[in-house]
């Protein structure tokens, strides 16, 4: 029998969702300050309205949803998935008010793309967008990459272990430190350190190339934010191609790779156990996958004579593969070139890299190399079992921070999530084909949305059908949260309708 949620359950969900939107409203004060400092008064009004809407919602929820009931696992999951949708609706308000988005749906698309660190964009005339709105776009990536809930866990929620369901619900299976709030704070520490390093490196690169100091700083900050968080937004319409700078590209490769590492691995490396990177199943799987998929992509490009020369192959082939594999979506080519110039083999290499993704408990999306590594390891062990005597005992062991014996449950979970991702990719592909796009392009764009990558072959455009925009929004949302909390929300809605 399905139990209908009680009023107290609704109040718990409402209370925490209100706190989350309160936090989002406070974050909008950052672009508001930028707008005021740089005399962008029109843009400042957009953020006054956006922040006020968030704070009103937050206050109303906190005032009306008073409850003493504790947050349970299912509440936490629902709070997470609901808060991400609310963040999209509220985060889109200042974007829409700027008149750079054709409709509120387009603004919602970009807001979800930002929070989910995807990078697909429907913004129009990006090159004339205000500093404040650009700051907000990149901030959504920075918040979303760490996790909207991590922000709340760090600054707004006082209870430590009671917040665990919220932390887990945001697709973070591992606690880096025993305490979930300490884990959230460590994630912020790592993020701030790499953001500062990335910003400085990019600032000096562009400042030395003649860009004014203030602009070099903002471009450095924004690109570092989106590269570390494997997001993919840029302040100019040509993505990384705008900068025409090899050193700039190399720095973004470094940031993308750092952002794609598991936070547990970061912690281990920071603790001085540097050999872990050579033993960790995730790091090894990622390395092998990059080598194989770049090999595939490069073979297609070289065979077609697309980018002759090592430098060209590196700056176009390798860059796109790393951008895809880390789930960033930065591009050093124009979107139509994927469709026009790249061979099906090269396109397949990039599509697979997007589908697989990078580290679990990182800012990257996709299936994750840890799951691929676990499934592959199990497959190898099963083959080994068939060749050994029946009495032989084969233990499925992996090394991830420490030696772990793989249980049936873990393998089943990894396989189920992998299957869910494949289905998610297929849904977007079918909708794309339904609207008349060729299979290879529909698959490419769908995987890019579902795996939160942001590479585009040209389908994502303000003129694309509304149904496809909604499909990609759903894919970005479900893909970022890795399904469990999305299923929890859908289950709660079903229970509210059909339960007793």
């Amino acid at each position: 029998m399905i139990l209908r949620p009680q009023l107290q359950d609704v109040k718990v969900i409402g209370h925490y969702s209100g706190i989350m939107m309160f936090g989002l409203g406070l974050l909008m004060l950052i672009p508001l300050v930028v707008a005021v400092c740089f005399g962008e008064i029109d843009a400042a009004l957009d953020f006054v309205i956006g922040a006020s809407a968030c704070l009103i919602f937050g206050y109303l929820m906190v005032l009306f949803c008073v409850t003493r009931k504790e947050l349970t696992w299912s509440h936490g999951m629902v709070v997470v998935s609901l808060s991400w949708l609310l963040a999209m609706f509220f985060g889109a308000i200042p974007l829409y008010l700027s008149s750079h988005w054709g409709s509120y749906l387009d603004a919602c698309f970009d807001a979800m793309s930002g929070f989910a660190t995807t990078g697909l964009a429907l913004v129009q005339d990006l090159d004339h967008l205000s500093l404040a709105h650009n700051m907000w776009r990149h901030l959504t990536m920075y918040i979303g990459g760490q996790g909207i809930m991590i922000v709340a866990l760090t600054f707004l929620l006082r209870g430590a272990e009671s917040a665990l369901p919220i932390y887990i619900g945001e697709a973070r299976e591992e606690k880096v430190l025993p305490n979930v709030v300490q884990t959230a704070r460590f994630i912020w520490l790592v993020s701030f350190v790499y953001l500062a390093m990335g910003t400085l490196a990019l600032f000096f690169t562009m400042f030395s190339a003649g860009m004014p100091a203030a602009k070099s700083f903002f471009h450095g900050l924004w690109v570092a934010m989106a590269a570390w968080d494997t997001g993919g937004f840029t302040p100019q319409s040509q993505s990384i191609l705008y900068y025409h700078n090899f050193r700039f590209e190399l720095i973004t490769i470094g940031l993308m790779l750092l952002g794609s590492l598991n936070f547990s691995l970061h912690y281990t490396l920071w603790a001085g156990r540097r050999k872990e990177i050579f033993r960790n199943i995730e790091a090894i799987s990622f390395f092998i996958s990059v080598v194989v998929l770049f090999g595939l992509t490069a073979f297609g490009l070289v065979a077609g004579g697309i980018y002759p020369g090592v430098e060209n192959l590196f700056r176009k082939g390798f860059y796109q593969v790393i951008s895809a594999h880390t789930g960033t979506g930065y591009m050093t080519i124009q979107p139509h070139q994927f469709a026009q110039h790249w061979s099906p083999l090269s396109l397949m290499g990039v599509t697979l890299a997007m589908a697989i993704g990078a580290g679990a408990c990182s800012t990257a999306g996709g299936i994750k190399v840890l799951r691929i590594g676990m499934i592959f390891r199990t497959l190898m062990q099963d083959i080994k079992r068939t060749m050994l005597p029946r009495s032989a005992v084969v233990v499925d062991k992996i090394h991830h921070i420490r030696d772990l014996v793989l249980s049936e449950k873990q393998i089943r979970q990894a396989a189920l999530i992998t299957l869910a991702y494949i289905l998610l990719y297929l849904i977007g592909t079918l909708v794309g084909i339904g609207w008349g796009y060729p299979l290879k392009l529909a698959l490419f764009e769908s995987v890019s949305a579902g795996a939160n990558v942001g590479l585009s072959c040209g389908i994502t455009d303000p003129t694309m059908p509304a149904a496809l925009k909604v499909t990609y929004i759903f894919q970005m949302w479900a893909g970022r949260l890795e399904f469990v909390s999305v299923f929890a929300l859908l289950g709660t809605i079903f229970a509210a309708i059909r339960g007793k």
């Binding site: 006054v48 309205i49 704070l55 090159d127 967008l129 602009k215 124009q334 070139q337």
Partner: protein, 162 residues
């Protein structure tokens, strides 16, 4: 007869020259790029962003209605550019004559134009961002509601049983 052949040749060479330096849009460059690859073209659009220095040369990005292209040229050619498009300014509209590269071997495979001549078509200007009266109203009313709710919240918290 010879005169007629001479006139025909003259027309033909004029036609060839016009094709060689045809004014093309970013849509043409996107959809028919092999045709223009390695050819001298003329591209017209707004200068956006900044002038990026690369040794003795510079990069500028020029955008027409639907897309932007990187333009590589000696520093002297961009001396006349005053306005670069951003939030506050519409950039100078320029006409760039140069060799188009679909995948430039000199610049890591970038799509670019190696400019030979840049002509200023129209000066850019400051963009006015007039304040929308509806936005001003909302920016007064909504924060006022927040203020009232904040006070109510404080009062409720004070009188709520622990």
């Amino acid at each position: 007869m010879l005169r007629n052949i001479f006139i025909a040749c003259l027309f033909l060479s004029a036609f060839c020259l016009s094709v060689q330096a045809a004014t093309v849009s970013s849509v043409d460059l996107r959809e028919d790029s092999p045709k223009y690859d390695g050819q001298t073209i003329t591209f017209q659009g707004e200068v956006i962003g900044d002038i990026i220095v690369s040794g003795e040369f510079v990069w500028i990005n020029v955008k027409d209605q639907t897309g932007a292209v990187g333009v590589f040229c000696p520093k002297e050619l961009v001396e006349g550019i005053e306005y670069k498009g951003e939030y506050r300014f519409s950039g100078d509209i320029i006409s760039v004559k140069g060799v188009f590269h679909e995948r430039c071997p000199q610049h890591g495979g970038d799509t670019d134009i190696h400019a030979q001549k840049i002509t200023l078509i129209e000066k850019g200007e400051q963009i006015e961002h007039p304040l929308n009266p509806q936005k001003i109203k909302a920016s007064i009313i909504l924060p006022s509601i927040v203020f009232v709710l904040a006070i109510i919240h404080l009062i409720v918290r004070k009188f709520r049983k622990p």
